[in-house]
């Protein structure tokens, strides 16, 4: 099974990378871009885990390891069932 975990800054935290990308896009003339937030994505290949198991395992991994709860939030989904 393959799962995807998105980790990004909480809205209250300034995201200097996103800001810089936004500025760069404006310089290039992409005025339609009003805001940019940059985060990380992890794709995990899980072996021998049921959907149910993944539902406890993945948030645990995300909380414990992949995200820093002081500044980051995460979101995840299964992208390949098996």
């Amino acid at each position: 099974m393959k799962v995807r975990i998105l980790v990004s800054f909480k809205d209250s935290v300034l995201d200097p990378q996103g800001q810089t990308v936004k500025n760069a896009l404006h310089t290039l003339g992409y005025a339609a871009v009003k805001d940019v937030r940059q985060g990380k994505v992890f794709e995990l290949e899980l072996e021998g885990a049921t959907k149910k198991e993944a539902e406890t395992l993945v948030p645990e991994i995300a909380r414990r390891v992949l995200a820093n709860p002081i500044i980051e939030k995460f979101d995840w989904q299964i992208i390949k069932d098996r």
Partner: protein
Amino acid sequence: MKFGVVQFPGSNCDFDTFHVLRNVMKRETALLWHKDHDLQGVDCVVLPGGFSYGDYLRSGAIARFSPLMQEVKAFARAGGHVLGICNGFQILLELGLLPGAMIRNKNLKFLCQHVRIRIENEKTDFTRAGRKGQVLRIPIAHFDGNYYAPARVLKDIERHRQVVFRYCDAEGNITEEANVNGSLGNIAGIRNREGNVLGLMPHPERASEALLGSEDGRTIFASLILSLERRKPARRPVRRERARHD
């Protein structure tokens, strides 16, 4: 007294810190291996700078899980002194021994340069050899030194006088320009509430020999020696700071 410098895979200021503590400050110093469980009876644990685990996930994020860090955590909770320099500071934040987090420098570049920091609190075990308001010239070298904490936490830190160093100009003024990495409140170093754990981004070990341009960093090591040699640390239990993880 005896110092212990922890070596993680990817630490790169371990030998520097070891060199300064042993050959400049002339104190017994041990290298502590991250896979061990043995603190070798040291009086102060130093987490050195570098790129533990490449800083690949987040700075300091993986090192906090190493076996030795479980011992360091217990040591700190029992009142043992822990100093985190640069990556070591980041590890202490990730570990939850100090409050807050680090994000990328505001200019999104690695910064290596001398900065000035002001001693905000001279009544700590890490600064007692200095004076209040004293300006130290010490280098920084980091990519993620932009200190962040939620407003509520920040207020707490200030109230308990946990800010030990702030970035300042040559005259000791706390200015936006002096705040090279964008840290909240110009914060360069903080301690825990109990006062036995300190983290700072600047590298005192790089400012401990006149030959290298500054000796101001010795203030921090000298303070520790002063504090720890005067009295064997009272091993008072310590409340857990902003508990999280595990």
